[in-house]
Amino acid sequence: MKGKILKLCLLIITVAVASACSAGTSKKASTSTKMGVHPELSAQEKLTPCAQCHKDATPEVYKEWYDSVHGIANVKCFQCHGTYEDLKTSPDETNCAACHNAQYLKRPSDKKCWDCHPAHHFFIHK
């Protein structure tokens, strides 16, 4: 059990760090795409919408998302971050391109999408 709690804490820290980085404090960290670390769940437990747990587990991130245009338009966590088997804390940018392909193609080559459009808030620009 201790190990699992540790894994959960690690996830929370990972998300929090990614979130902080994407707010512009560290370009280096924000440009890396990491495979997410999630507590091990059974197949049954995986049948739980991400936001249901993250509303409590990462309330700040949840609120940022809920109040954003993604939240209003019901763009859900898995659309950017993937699901358990391919979970990425920082999304693969081709997932952004599913809806924002024109912007993806013309973005500066040295930047990630969230360098200018803060993750989970998605303002037009920082």
């Binding site: 197949a43 437990e45 739980t48 338009a73 898995f78 699901t83 809806c99």
Partner: protein, 802 residues
């Protein structure tokens, strides 16, 4: 901030009744290919809702690996919802459960066995021929889909009508948009919306009634959301619905009325518009008349005024209940009438009503009264639920009373015109419309239909009161062919299952809500022996001709003989339909050839009589001179709008006097709650596709029953408790979601779940609108009771038993 894993899971269980029973869904864990791997991209249309989002399929070494939106598309501007992003996972060999071989059993209590296509087509032809010979032409039927390509619906109905001499041609659009068709024809004289999605960016007031746009049409909702967020103070959003939904998040005013009181609400808005002189006198004088009753008697404005006098906001508020106040009704009417452009949007909440056509008429009334039509941002716009309900079924002749290109079966001249265009003898198509959907499955129950072909839909789950109709489908003397891509509740009842190609595995056109036809060409191979429907129908028809010794059946497919099935065959069918059948009709599509459609990022809006016009995208707003080529062609005077619709000989818009009528079944002491049904964003229809995509299934693995917190408290129901929902027809047991969504006295269940205990159409009522024949899925009476605390649950999808 950290939660222990125990707490994390405990909260999850309390919210959803998710269990700890390990069950493995057949989701592959292998590393999947992604968009960055694609070596080519292919244009097409989304397979799911009726928005018509354009997208590109990424293909790597013949395998579908990703989907992305097309930025230049005028339907979605590049945006996709989660379903649109992910349905590539169902293509080709990406999903292990795809149907790949024809399957047959002589009796429905036997297991299926794999057979060859030759054997399968022979069996289908012999069984249909046997029924025709023994019981007559009306003992056979086709039940199709708003998800079939236009070419598919067209060739199926051609063989049924011209070949088998029956109008027993129906489809699931009867269940979702038949009332909208009735409304458009009786109010405007022509089916389908006048305007386009472009009005989303031009409207100053949105009146959203009976539509959870945010979940049912998410990409269109994004456009409305954007318009509202960019113009917070000047654009008003009114959301009228018995249930607060994600759509309500952008609303300035939420009108929460009791189910079935919508007609009173709409008449009360008209009352305010008349009382406060908010109507457009010139528009009324130039373009409108008032009518009432079955005989369509014309009356004057004074009569209409006296009619609406019975719907004062004070009286309507008492009828409507919920949160409705007279002041809210007045506010809504004023915003509606005074805005520079008001756009109404609705879907099943209005259409799936005992008086769905009347509800449509009353929305149109508000637009005609206020002149909120034909100008920028002004539109009375019914959203359609399926990708090709409009293009394939409404326009292609996919219902029992209509022939291709908006022709009525019962009109001799139009019927004979079709016979002439098909080169078949006059009188070949019977003059009597066939069975509408509920009547068709009632006829199956009664053994009047002996052979039925169900294509690309699952009525065993999607019909209201479905247990009643599943009995008929189980009859051993009813031969049932089902064409589909996955096992469903309906394939469970079939004799013959034919595996079909999915979108992007074949070529054809979808026509979305805004009169726009869009081509999707084949980009990947279908799995196993799955075939395009157009090939299946052609080969079946040739065998039928032999079995029945009837050369006219062969004549129906003669123009298509020898064509390869992936492109040339559907192209030939599309050419026949557009060049011959739509010529001179209001949905003239002669300019929208495959070559033209391929050149455009999206497609063509009819009327599009020439290639030049089609290459510009076609007609954005109907009936406006200078914008619609047919408005110029049919102009009778110098007025800017020409309402040339074929159903109104006076070429006027009709304002109808329609009284409030409640639902077929009202709550009572035994069944005290209203039951309503609808959608969630992650799933679509019977979930046979979305349930097989792990991200979507995990997002919503089970149906639940939404209960207003006040009702839950009275009944001692807590989140996750298992609740029995019982009507006079059936019973479900579902986990409870306590939610300020439905109004007090109402519960709500989404209808995608295939598990017998959670399949809500076992509970709904099969009453239908006497005009449109569309069932009243949205309202029936039920009772609810807690049966236990949270219980382990399993997601469920029908699997093919070997």
């Amino acid at each position: 901030m950290g939660l222990s894993r125990r707490e994390f899971i405990k909260r999850t269980a309390a919210l959803t009744a998710a269990s700890y029973v390990g069950i493995d869904l057949p989701f592959s864990n292998e590393q999947e290919a992604h968009a960055s791997d694609a070596d080519s991209w292919h244009k097409g249309t989304c397979r799911l809702c009726g928005s018509g989002c354009r997208l590109e399929l990424g293909v790597k070494n013949g395998k579908a690996v990703a989907l992305r939106g097309i930025t230049k598309s005028r339907t979605n501007m590049g945006y996709l919802c989660m379903k649109g992003m992910l349905f590539y996972k169902l293509m080709g060999n990406n999903h292990p459960e795809r149907l790949k071989k024809p399957l047959y059993r002589a009796r429905k209590d036997q297991p299926f066995k794999e057979i060859s296509w030759d054997e399968a087509l022979d069996i289908a032809a012999k069984e249909f021929a046997k029924a025709v010979k023994q019981y007559g032409n009306d003992s056979v039927a086709y039940y199709g889909s708003g998800q079939a390509l236009t070419e598919e619906t067209y060739i199926f109905q051609k063989v049924m009508r011209g070949g088998l001499k029956t109008n027993n041609v129906e489809g699931n659009p009867r269940l979702c948009m038949a009332s909208a068709v009735g409304g458009y024809i009786t109010s405007f004289g022509a089916d389908e919306p006048i305007g386009s999605y472009t009005n989303f960016e031009r409207a100053s007031c949105f009146f959203i009634i009976g539509s959870n746009t945010a979940e049912a049409h998410p990409v269109l909702f994004r456009r409305i959301m954007r318009r509202k967020l960019d113009n917070k103070d000047t654009v008003k959003v009114i959301n009228a619905d018995p249930r607060v939904s994600p759509t309500s998040r952008i609303a300035d005013l939420h009108l929460q009325f009791n189910p079935g009181t919508d007609l009173a609400l709409l008449n009360a808005m008209a009352y305010v518009i008349v009382e406060e002189n908010l109507y457009d006198e010139d528009f009324l004088k130039n373009y409108a008349v008032f009518r009432m009753g079955k005989e369509k008697k014309q009356v004057d404005f004074a009569k209409y005024k006296s009619f609406v006098k019975d719907y004062s906001p004070e009286k309507a508020a008492r009828i409507c209940g919920g949160n409705i106040t007279p002041e809210k009704i007045r506010q809504a009417a004023r915003w509606f009438a005074k805005s520079e452009g008001t756009m109404s949007i609705w879907t099943m909440g209005i259409n799936q009503r005992k008086r769905g056509v009347w509800a449509n008429n009353l929305i149109h009334n508000l637009h005609i009264l206020t002149g909120q039509l034909c100008k920028p941002g002004a539109d009375s716009f019914s959203l359609t639920g399926q990708p090709n309900a409009c293009g394939g079924v409404r326009e292609g002749g996919g219902l029992c009373h209509i022939l291709p290109a908006h022709r009525l079966v019962k009109k001799d001249k139009l019927r004979h015109e079709v016979e002439r265009l098909w080169g078949i003898p006059e009188g070949r198509i019977p003059p009597k419309p066939g069975y509408h959907t509920v009547a068709m499955f009632e006829a199956v129950n009664q053994g009047k239909i002996k052979a039925i072909w169900i294509n690309c839909t699952s009525p065993a789950q999607s019909l209201p009161n479905c247990d009643k109709y599943r009995k008929g489908m189980r009859r051993e003397d009813v031969f049932m062919v089902v064409t589909d891509i996955f096992p469903t509740k309906t394939t469970e009842l079939a004799n013959l299952i034919l595996p079909t190609a999915f979108i992007f595995e074949k070529t054809g056109v979808y026509g979305c809500t805004e009169r726009r036809s869009q081509l999707t060409a084949k980009a990947v191979d279908a799995p196993g022996e799955a075939k395009p429907e157009v090939w299946i129908v052609r080969e079946w028809a040739l065998r039928l001709a032999k079995e029945l010794n009837d050369p006219v059946i062969k004549k129906c497919v003669e123009p298509f003989l020898g064509k390869e099935p992936d492109y040339e065959l559907p192209k030939a069918i599309w050419d026949e339909y557009t060049q011959k059948l739509t010529k001179g009709r209001d949905n003239d599509l002669r300019g929208a050839t495959y070559d033209v459609l391929k050149k455009l990022p999206d497609g063509v809006q009819w009327p599009a009589p020439t290639k030049e016009w089609a290459l510009k995208g076609g007609t954005d707003i109907k009936f406006v001179r200078g914008l619609d080529p047919l408005a110029d062609k049919h102009a009778k005077n110098d007025l800017p709008y020409q309402f040339y619709g074929p159903a109104h000989p006076d070429k006027k818009l009709w304002i109808w006097l329609r009284p409030q009528k409640g639902p077929a079944e009202m709550p009572d002491s035994e069944y005290p709650f209203y039951l309503s049904t609808g959608r969630v964003i992650d799933h679509w229809h019977t979930a046979s596709m979305t349930g097989r995509i792990k991200e979507l299934m995990r997002a919503n693995p089970y149906a639940y029953v939404e209960i207003n917190p006040k009702d839950a408290e009275k009944l001692g129901i807590k989140p996750g408790d298992m609740v029995e929902v019982v009507s006079r027809r059936g019973r479900n047991v579902l986990p409870a979601k306590i939610y300020v969504g439905p109004c007090e006295g109402m519960v709500f269940v989404y209808w995608h779940d295939q598990a017998e205990d959670r399949m809500i159409n076992r509970v709904t009522k099969d009453a239908f609108d006497p005009g449109s024949k569309e069932p009243e899925f949205k309202i029936c009476a039920c009772r609810i009771k807690k049966v236990s605390g949270p219980r382990p649950l399993k997601p469920f999808l029908v699997q093919m038993k070997a």
